[in-house]
Amino acid sequence: MAKLPSIKHNDNKIISNNIVGENEDVIPGLGQYDDFQTIDWQRDLARDRMRHRYIVKHKKDSVWDFIKAAHDAWSGWMCLFLVGLAAGTVASIVDIGTTWMTDLKYGICPEAFWLDREQCCWSSNQTAFGYDNCSQWLTWPKLVGLSDESAGGYIIAYISYVLWALSFAGLAAVLVRMFAPYASGGAIPEIKTILSGFIIRGFLGKWTLLIKSIGIMLSVAAGLSVGKEGPMVHITICIGNILSYLFPKYGRNEAKKREILSAAAASGVSVAFGAPIGGVLFSLEEVSYYFPMKTLWRSFFCALIAAFVVRSIDPYGNEHSVLFYVEYSKPWIFFELLPFILLGAIGGLIGTLFIRANIWWSRYRKQSRIGQYPVTEVIVLTLINAVISYPNPYTRMSSTRLIYLLFSQCGVANNDYLCDYNRNYTNVNGAIESAAAGTGVYTALALLFLALVFKIVMTIFTIGIKVPAGLYIPSLCMGAIVGRIVGIAMEQWAYHYPQFWAFRGECSTGDDCITPGLYAMVGAAAVLGGVTRMTVALVVIMFELTGGVRYIVPLMAAAMASKWVGDAFGKDGIYDAHIALNGYPFLDNKEEFDCTTIAADVMQPRGNAPLTILTQDSMTLSEVESILENSKHNAFPVVISRESHFLVGCVLRRDLMLAIGSVRRKQDDISDDSLVIFNGFVQGNPSASSPVKLRRILDLAPITVTDHTPMETVIDMFRKLGLRHVLVTHNGRLLGIITKKDVMLHMSHHQRTIPSVFH
């Protein structure tokens, strides 16, 4: 009876039973992955555990070893601390740059060109008339000598707006094309795939980081219908990837690195929205594939550090670090839950419509000639956007300002058309009286409705263009408009019919009891939920965005309604839909798979085709090389001999090619007839040339199932263990192999979606 394999170690190296030991750099490249390949989770985790055991065991040998052990223990926290610092810094830079560049379209502050309009007019004592223009702010018409109100001034302002927008967008598109094409788009579907174990080289690199940061500033400043939240997640994950190389525990181990990346994603949402807890939940719900408790703590820490850095750098003097801080003087009444749920349903519908339309357009763009002119597409889109959005004041202002305007309550300091009610403000600190809407409100409603239609159409065409673009702010904006319209309708209803049974209680006094701003907030959450199909993360992000902890119940109601209505039309959110469109090898681990097939139905080879195998000690080098050349498989099972297919282990194509290449280079007495020995001893008479010993690349513990294992179990194993392939045996003998590609094809056939598997 063979002894159970154990871990032997001597002074120089550790040999394990089934995993390549520490000296893998003897054959360079062994243990690393090629581009566009899936990682082997089990192998990497086992390598890490072994490395950890070695360090712990030798901790007491010397002071240096003790320091190494301590470094290993806190390297995770140290890495995430640095990631949080860097993420907060980059986010602040992006914020400040975006704010400045956005206002360049309207004018410039002549004595301090780095200030945007609001900051330029900040300490002027002429702002009693409103925020829009003060004497220090030099609009472009004024530069030419015309006044703002004249017709010539309007045209100059229009033209300069369009020209600035075109130059920003053009610059962004050209920079992306020239330096880092992977910096285009929102990147969250790709990040989901990467975190599930896929490798895309360069996607998280230095140039991508730089170009994405600069590009998102330019895209938002160009007035395109984009947000910067998705790109911020990409930026922080790039930072996480780059900094993880400082700590070999994470840099050299792809499975461990994904822990850092999950935590970095949390800090991305934390700095983009000012929502640290929402960021952690976003990383859990949307982006990460495996999320153990350890990652939960680490994400929390990273998001906290990043939020702290942003808060301390924040130069804008607001007391609140909350993005859309609102404070409503009156809470909501119970009856309002009905319109909130209605808003949720509308949000789900809008979300579904948006997803379907965007996927249709993305597919069209991918297949038609438009896809060959990416820079031209960006410029044309910006031109249409700028020309149509300038006349409407609600599309001219940046989406963030519009959202803030829609969320806020009409008060003394708010003199937009939206707040043109027939009321007099007598006291800043008192309650706001209920009032009929003036004509300004109806004008504003018409303009807002046009803005809504325009925004929906533009966002459908904008998501997927080859400049950095996110879709959170546009979704929030669309929802805020819908919500505000519904809210104003409710408010006027309450004003004109105060005797209605629902309003009789709190609304019978003269005070205003319906707050349209709250409806805007709920609407925004509903549409964002409809598009992304988030639930918990959405509610937490919303109440961290607005500081409105009292409004959790309306937000939850709307989020649930939105998800139910949206799911009734299609299970996929926008990210899953893009993953399906691009055909990424992403095995969704949230859905249940319900089928009665067994492993024998799915395994390769089908029918009577022969199984490509290697034998443990009876194949020559030339036979092995010809098998490698003539087949495309990524893994080869190793059996005892051609006659008896009892399983010995499994070897990967990449390892085999590297090992053979290294052996051919270094050993001189190798010929094509040399026997390749994977396991066991050289039999009988040694032939003329010495054997090729490839013991070290053989995996002696491949995961196997029998041919009668139900596919539900097999798919569960793929998801939970992160496998790439599974060997199928029958009565102990090797029968076939199931790869991840086979599993995904099987699932998609079963669910009748269109398969287009990547590679």
């Binding site: 400040i96 301090a112 780095w114 200030l115 300490s123 220090q136 094409p181 007598t426």
Partner: protein
């Protein structure tokens, strides 16, 4: 290559200079912001003035020091009615941070634009001898690591390495462009 070096040096000098500039006192970092209703509430004559901003130290940020000097004539004798209806807040900001960040962003963008122009215009002219080697590799499926490095004119060791790194980077970007713009395999 001295051209490149002198570019960077001059940019660096200008970069430092741009921080040493004087800012007008109108762009201060603190203010006191008071929001008040119309003076018409107490039978004053002025209306439509709702926001008052003044630069006073925080202990003087209240109605009497900020609002009354402006509208004192309007509401003579009725200050005690008017002032409680006002809300005053002291705010501060940091314009130096904004200045530093905006200047950094401008510099980064201009460096990128110049580098891009250099790559598009000057680089092919400078490297005309050595570019003929690797033009044909563009649309091959072969993604293995067996491409040999294109021969470079033998210069100093450091320049050689810089040249090789740039070549490798250019190849990576070309690969990325192929995936996104030509074959549409990712990021659609």
């Amino acid at each position: 290559m001295t051209l490149r070096k002198s570019f960077f040096l001059s940019f660096f000098v200008l970069f430092i200079f741009s921080f040493i500039s004087d800012v007008n006192a109108q762009y201060e970092d603190v203010r006191c912001k008071c929001i008040c209703p119309d003076t018409a509430v107490v039978n004053g004559t002025q209306s439509h003035r709702k926001l008052y901003i003044e630069n006073v130290p925080p202990n003087k940020c209240d109605c009497t020091n900020v609002v009354l000097p402006r509208v004192g004539d309007d509401i003579k004798g009725k200050e005690k009615e008017f002032c409680p209806r006002c809300e005053c807040k002291y705010e501060s900001r940091n314009t130096t941070t904004i200045k530093v960040v905006v200047i950094i962003v401008i510099w980064i963008i201009s460096l990128l634009v110049i580098y891009m122009l250099f790559l598009v215009c000057l680089d092919p002219l400078l490297n005309k001898k050595t570019t003929t080697q690797y033009q044909e590799h563009n649309n091959e499926e072969d993604e293995s690591e067996t491409h040999s490095q294109p021969l470079r004119a033998s210069g100093a060791g450091v320049l050689n390495r810089v040249g090789q790194t740039t070549d490798k980077w250019k190849k990576t970007v070309q690969e990325q462009r192929r995936h996104i713009y030509d074959r549409h395999t990712i990021l659609n």
